[in-house]
Amino acid sequence: MMIKISTRKKLKQVSAVLKAFFVILVLVILYLPILYIIIQSVNADGTGNTFGGITFRWYSELFGDPELMDAIVNTLSIAFISTAASTILGTIFAIGINSLDRKRKQRLIFLNNVPIINADIVTGVFLMLVFLTFGRLIGINYPLGYITMLIAHIFFSIPYVILSVLPKLNEMDPNLYDAALDLGSKPSEAVMKIIVPTIRPGIITGMLIAFTMSIDDFIISYFTTGGGVANFSIWLYTNRKATRFHALPKAYAYNTVIMVLTLAILIIYNIIQRRKVVKN
């Protein structure tokens, strides 16, 4: 088809605008609840039914509540550690699974998907059982606590990392690695310089999903923790019934802080990247 260049350019412009519009529309719908959360976090009317003016009292109550702060620190520390661990382990395991024969691959992928389909409560109850059983086997009568919660988070995050990395591994040309070895590079070098960069989008998306799964988990954490160690979700689910202690406004405040912080980091990252491009 021979189309004039100017028309083609216009078509491209129109399609670009349409594409941007579509993406922005979806983003707006995704962010409407977030906007609601942010507005409510500064709402002087803690019941949330009307807008009573702007206040930051919920933020000061948030930071002044030691139990809540403990829970938040647990949430964040477990999120970061489990994300790092599950991303690294998930990537390694994905590379392993990818090189298996078809039958073994199918088996492991099936097992991999079991935690994803199981209702959270099923995963939670049975992880608790596993921890209690194996803990008692090695002489720890009451093993539940921070460490078991952490292991649980790593456990349910790895499948998502694997699912993100596997398609990318599959897409990769399998001969690249062997070619690199033939050209004299060491195996570890070949992995880091050939495989990892190729599957990088998979690793990054897997990491982001793992973080998401961890930061928001309630019921699995509930069952696998002990000794009074709570995370934010546990705090919220158990405290929201006691509306007289205004858990909700404090929760809004906390979530707004998370949003604002990550957006700020994003903007700073963007600025740094632009400076890099300019420098080059």
């Binding site: 609840p33 392993g96 389909i117 209702a119 929760a251 979530n255 632009r274």
Partner: protein, 272 residues
């Protein structure tokens, strides 16, 4: 690449302890009438089977599959184009847009879903402050909307990841040979991206099938899905057998679905 097989070994061990062992216990529980997890007083029974394959629960199961299916389809229809658009952006911009899609997930899901629900209720904040009074809460629409809002990023991400850094030489070659952008997409890009779609389907359909918080809140408690029932069975403390059997049934169902799709797709274009 065969040398990497050993890397899968630790994962197998990990899976045996944390997945296979519980699965075996679940199979055992499916045949037991048990108080909590007290095996010493448990009795053998088939009553769990009667409970699971009961007409009411079967309806609930089908309903759940229906909701999960619709959610997945909508997520593909919206998610694939978005993943495609993002993958064509400059790398730094694409990373930021990608992050924008997952950022909302870093707020607490309960809060976010309740907030979404508040936006759809006739009374309360929206009415008192903005005069907006929609009454869409408690409907099928509100449930599906919330499910899509929650699960969309899980579809976008794996598709984006396979589309990103797809061998540009392939695209160039296709276009050099005279194919239009659309045809290139259809014949080159799309088939290669199917594995990403498959991952997305797994990460959306499976959790959507057993989700219970979202339908609970968005339907104002009127919608009972299989996740609701399984949760109830495990919370009751005396129905671990039924709960286990129901979960096993779901796992088996998915296993069969994946098995069939593997057989239909001999050259491994989608899953394996």
């Amino acid at each position: 690449m065969k040398r990497f097989r050993m890397l899968a070994l630790p994962y197998s061990v990990w899976m045996v302890i944390l997945v296979v062992f519980p699965l075996l216990i679940m199979v055992a529980l499916a045949f037991l009438d048990i108080q909590g997890l007290d095996f010493s007083t448990a009795t053998f029974t088939f009553s769990n089977f009667k409970a699971t394959f009961d007409k009411t629960y079967f309806e609930v199961f089908l309903r759940s599959m229906g909701y999960a299916f619709i959610t997945t389809i909508i997520c593909i229809v919206i998610g694939y184009p978005i993943a495609y658009i993002i993958s064509k952006l400059k790398p730094t911009v694409s990373f930021i847009v990608l992050l924008l899609f997952i950022l909302p997930m870093w707020t607490n899901m309960l809060l976010r879903i309740q907030s979404l629900n508040m936006l759809l209720l006739p009374e309360g904040f929206m009415k008192n402050v903005f005069g907006i009074s929609i009454n869409l809460s408690g409907s099928t629409f509100s449930v599906i909307l919330a499910m899509v809002v929650v699960y969309l990023p899980f579809m976008i991400f794996p598709i984006y990841s396979v589309l990103e850094k797809q061998d540009p030489l392939l695209i160039e070659a296709s276009q050099d040979l005279g194919a239009s952008e659309f045809k290139t997409f259809r014949k080159v890009t799309l088939p290669l991206s199917l594995k990403g779609v498959a991952s997305g389907v797994i990460m959306v359909f499976l959790p959507a099938a057993t989700s219970f918080t979202i339908p609970e809140i968005m339907s104002r408690g009127k919608l009972v899905l299989i996740g609701t029932i399984i949760e109830q069975k495990f919370k009751s403390g005396s129905n671990y057998g039924t709960g286990s059997l129901m979960s096993l049934f779901l796992i088996a169902f998915i296993f069969i679905a994946i098995f069939i799709s593997n057989k239909l797709d001999k050259e491994g274009a989608t899953l394996i």
